[in-house]
Structure formats: C-alpha cells, structure tokens
C-alpha cells in the first residue's frame, strides 16, 4: 500500500485493523426463531389461551349441550364444528396477533426488531408462521373434541376446509396488523376483543348468517366457506373470493398505513 493510502486509512479508520465478522443467521433460521418465540409466548400466555382455545371449546360444548343448532336428521355439532373452527381462526390470527403486535409497537419492540437482521419482512413472516403453528394446535384440539362429540365431517371437504382456514388466516392476520399498526394499543385491545365477539356472535361465524350481506364480511365468508366444505364436502369459491379480497385490501392498507412506532 502506498504511504498516502496508509495515512488515509489511519486517519479515517482509527488505529485498529478492521475486519468484520458480524453476519446474519440464514433467512429461514431468522424466521423460525421469530415464529418460535411468538408461538411459544402465545401458547404459554393464559389470556391468549383463553381466547384461542378455551372460549371456542366452550362455544362448541354450549351449542352441543343446548342442541341450539340441531335440525331433524343432522346433529348440531356438524354445523357448529366448522363455525367454531372459524371462531378459532379469528382468535389467533386476528385478536391475539393484534393485541400482541399493538403492545410490541408501544414498547418499540417492533422498531427494535426491525433494526436487527430479522428486519420488517422477517418479522411479518415470523408472525405468519407463528399464527400457522397456533392454528395447527387449534385445529387438532377443537377438531378432536368435535369428533369426540360426534362430528362427522365430509372427507372430501378436508382440502377445501384447510385452504379456507389458510386464506381466512391471511385475511385476519392482515387486518390485525392494520389495526395494531394504526391505533393506540389500548384501542387495539378493545377493538380486537369487541370485533371478535361481534364477528363470532353475529358475523356468520358460529351461527349461519341471517342475511346474505354477512357473507361479504370476512367472518361470514370464513364461516360459510368452512360449513360448505365440511357439511357438503365442496368448495365455496364465492367465500374464498371474498376472503382473498379482504386479504389483498388488508395487505395493501398495511403497506400504506402501518406505522412501526406509535
């Protein structure tokens, strides 16, 4: 190296020879780490478990015990089980995600993680994977209890049912992030719980919708899509289209409106 270049190095570079060893973990490792942290926290948190598992199971048992949805020739659990699965999807993808993200935003945890190698994309993908993990637990537990209560789903409906669960999860996760990334955490907490109750009771989730327009709500589309799949064993393409539109709208609005810091 020439003397001027060396002097320049010394001047700008400080006295220490510099070679960086800092490097990120691989992208899958980063996403998996984030998903494990989030799913682990959610599955250990009592309040979240109440919303994601206990209340949906109580709804299932309530409908079963009261015979509210029983019709001649068909057990009420066949109607209730897909609706309770829809309720469970909303609890993990929407309510749980919105509340957790809202408080992470308030404590600058989102911004802090965004400056690590995880980044914003890794954070969103990690959250999505955590929701999928929670969904898997919910489907197994709620589906298992429903089967024990006498649920007989149409076998040809399993694939359409799982696709509908996945699409509904995308739509509700996007809406959760939209809420958490724009409102104050207290408002997010209130809205996420209130909307879950309203969607669950009146939004065409547990009970089949009374009016057609409810099928245009993400809750109604998810409930109807799952009932069509597990009762009739067929695809409800209309419901899927509605969920896809909500997903696209949620993602686009998130990209435009989401604020990492309050």
């Amino acid at each position: 190296m020439s003397a001027p270049a060396r002097d320049r190095l010394r001047h700008d570079d400080g006295p220490v020879a510099f070679s960086s060893t800092a490097a990120p973990a691989s992208l899958p490792a980063r996403i998996l780490a984030q998903a494990r942290l989030e799913a682990g926290t959610a599955l250990r948190n009592g309040e979240q478990l109440l919303v994601t598992l206990v209340l949906p199971l109580l709804a299932l048992l309530g409908v079963h015990v009261t015979g509210l949805l029983d019709t001649p020739g068909r057990s009420g659990v066949d109607v209730a089980a897909p609706g309770v699965l829809a309720l469970a999807v909303m609890s993990s993808a929407f309510t749980s995600t919105a509340i957790a993200t809202g408080f992470e935003r308030r404590y600058d945890v989102l911004a802090a993680l965004a400056t690590t190698p995880l980044g914003t994309a890794g954070l969103v993908l990690g959250k999505a994977l955590a929701v999928l993990a929670q969904l898997a637990v919910q489907v197994v537990v709620i589906g298992g209890v429903a089967l024990a209560l006498g649920w007989s789903p149409a076998l040809s409906g399993i694939l359409p049912g799982l696709v509908t669960v996945g699409t509904g999860a995308v739509a509700f996760t996007a809406l959760a992030l939209l809420l958490a990334g724009t409102a104050r955490p207290e408002a997010t907490l209130a809205a996420a719980n209130l909307l879950w109750v309203l969607f669950g009771a009146l939004g065409g989730t547990v009970f089949p919708p009374r009016w057609d327009w409810i099928g245009l709500l993400p809750s109604g589309a998810l409930g109807e899509g799952l009932r069509t799949a597990f009762i009739d064993g067929t695809w409800d393409l209309g419901a899927l289209a509605v969920l896809l539109v909500w997903s696209a709208a949620g993602v686009l609005l998130c990209l435009k409106l989401f604020r990492w810091r309050p």
């Binding site: 190095l9 700008d12 400080g14 690590t116």
Partner: protein, 320 residues
C-alpha cells in the same frame, strides 16, 4: 500482485457512518414542522462520536434515520457506504442499536429476549458471557418488566452487542445508571472501539461525554452547530483563557481583585463570587501579572486551569 490486493483495502477508509445535508419534516398539514434542516455527521471506525443537544434538537430523529427506521426527506445517509433505509440483513447484522427506555418486550425474561436476538446472527457472543460482563447474571431469568431501570438499560445494551456489531447506536446508554454500574457501561462502550467498532451515542451527561468522546457533534434546532474532536471543541481561542477557582475565599476579596484595573487582561467574575474567568492571558508575563494581582489581595486560588473549557461551556455558548 500484492499491491493490488492491498489497495482494495482503501474503500474501508469510508467512515462507518456519513450523513450529508439530511432534512426531515414530521407531522401533517398545519402541524408540519421541519425537525432536521441539513444535518452533516460522520462517525469514524474505532472512535466514539457523541451527539449532544437539548431536548427536541432532533437527536432521536437523527438516530432513527441513521439506523434506517426513519427515512429522510432529503440528503444522503450512508452506513458502510450503503443506504440504511434499504439495508438488507447483512448490513443490519453489522449495526447494533440500543433504544432509550424501550425496545424490550416486558413479558419476556432478559435471557429469552437477548438469546433470541442472538439467534438472528450467525456468530453471536454467548448471552451468558454478555450477562456476566454487564453484571446481569443474577437477574437474567427475571421478567423484563420486573427489572430496575438500570438493569433494563444493560439488557438493551446486551441485545445491541450480541451480534458483534461494527457500528453501534446508543441512545442515552448511561441514563439512570447507579454509580456502581456507570463505570462498567463506560468501560464496555470503550471496549467496542478498541476492537474497531464505531460508536455513536447521545447523552445528557456531559461528564460521560467528556470521558468517552473522541468526536463531538452538537445538534441545535435541527442543525449541527459544532463538530470536531473533543479537544478541538473544548480549546478556547488561542489558549488565552484562565479559569480560576478561589475555593473558600471571601467573595468580597475576590470582587475587590476583580474590580482592580487590569492592563492586559479582562476579568469576568463567576456568579458564585469565588470563581472567575481571565481572558487575554497570552504569555507567562501576563500570567505573572495576574498572579501578582492575587498576591496583592492575599488571594491564593485553589486551582486554575488554562488548558480547555468544559463541554458544558461549549453547550451554553451554542444555546445562547
């Protein structure tokens, strides 16, 4: 050819951080206010750059723009020659950020969170070693919401350090630390420059700034109003100023000396009446004349100092 290989080192002469003419306006509509109007800042590797300035001067906005969580409306920002707003994981892995009162999830334990941040890096420092170095071992398994402010500060520092970063942004790293842990944190920050990292930090504690800073930049009303090495900033004029502290001398005697006619120098009395600044002491003869004046009033100062002024005085001057 070895010379070719060696000259390829020269691009590393690029400073770790370079901001040029950075502008930022926040808020909407009528509440739109310019927060930064043309900030220039560099941080050299192996040095500590201290960013000083009153509350609301734009320090946090500047830091957010440096680590890519905010985007400037104008000007350029380069971290190791690249734009932090578009930074990929490989650049973010080289940057460690410590947030002021935040960035920590209150429901997790310190260990769980710091180990998690470590998993995002390829070759993290073992969390156990960091906890030991930062005196956190005994509280590492406690939930973050149950830690004291000073413990949280050190957990945030551990999370910033775990990826062996080449550039560190520390927002008020010593705020709220007790007297036992402050020197520990100062030592750990200094160690980072010894291994070649660049450190940019903000602080309100001028003692800490004077102990740590290689370079100082003073931000006021969204502009860098002073910038240089600590020595450059605290040197006064041509070294012709002497600060005197008369200790427990009688303020009336000090005032009597100050009111004497002084031929070559000016005397400015401090507000407490027992300190003074003498300006124009430009030779040993002038110093001897000043000392003769003290002798005629039987004044024997506790100390006097012509080397430099304190950062506090520089800040006062800037905010005037």
């Amino acid at each position: 050819m070895p010379s070719v290989a060696l000259t390829s080192d020269v691009p590393s002469a690029e400073p770790a951080l370079r901001l040029h003419d950075v502008q930022r306006t926040l808020g909407r509509g009528r509440r739109r206010t310019a927060v930064l109007h043309g900030v220039d800042l560099t941080a050299r590797r192996g040095t500590v750059t201290v960013l000083l300035g009153p509350n609301g001067a734009g320090k946090s906005t500047t830091l957010a723009i440096c680590h890519g969580t905010d985007r400037p409306d104008g000007g350029t920002v380069r971290v190791f020659g690249r734009d932090p707003w578009r930074a990929g994981a490989d650049l973010r892995a080289r940057v460690g950020v410590m947030w002021q009162d935040g960035g920590l999830p209150p429901s997790l334990s310190a260990r769980r969170f710091v180990e998690h941040v470590g998993r995002l890096h390829r070759d993290p420092i073992p969390a156990r070693d960091l906890f030991e170095r930062l005196d956190l071992t005994s509280c590492a398994d406690r939930g973050i919401r149950r830690l004291s402010g000073g413990q949280r500060q050190r957990v945030a520092l551990a999370a910033a350090l775990i990826g062996r970063p080449d550039l560190l942004f520390l927002d008020e790293p010593t705020a709220g630390l007790d007297p036992q842990t402050r020197p520990l944190v100062l030592d750990v920050v200094r160690e980072q420059t010894e291994r070649g990292a660049a450190v940019v930090l903000t602080t309100h504690l001028l003692d800490d700034a004077e102990r740590l800073a290689d370079d100082v930049a003073i931000l006021a009303d969204g502009r860098i109003v002073r910038r240089g090495t600590l020595a450059e900033l605290t040197r006064i004029g041509a070294g012709d100023v002497v600060d005197v502290d008369f200790g427990d001398a009688d303020p009336r005697t000090v005032a009597a000396w100050a009111e004497d006619p002084h031929a070559a120098v000016q005397v400015r009395l401090g507000q407490d009446g027992t300190t003074a600044r003498v300006v124009g002491v430009d030779s040993p003869a002038a110093m001897a004349a000043v000392a003769a004046g003290w002798a005629s009033h039987d004044l024997f100062p506790r100390r006097w100092d012509r080397a430099s002024q304190r950062l506090e005085a520089v800040l006062e001057e800037v905010s005037r």
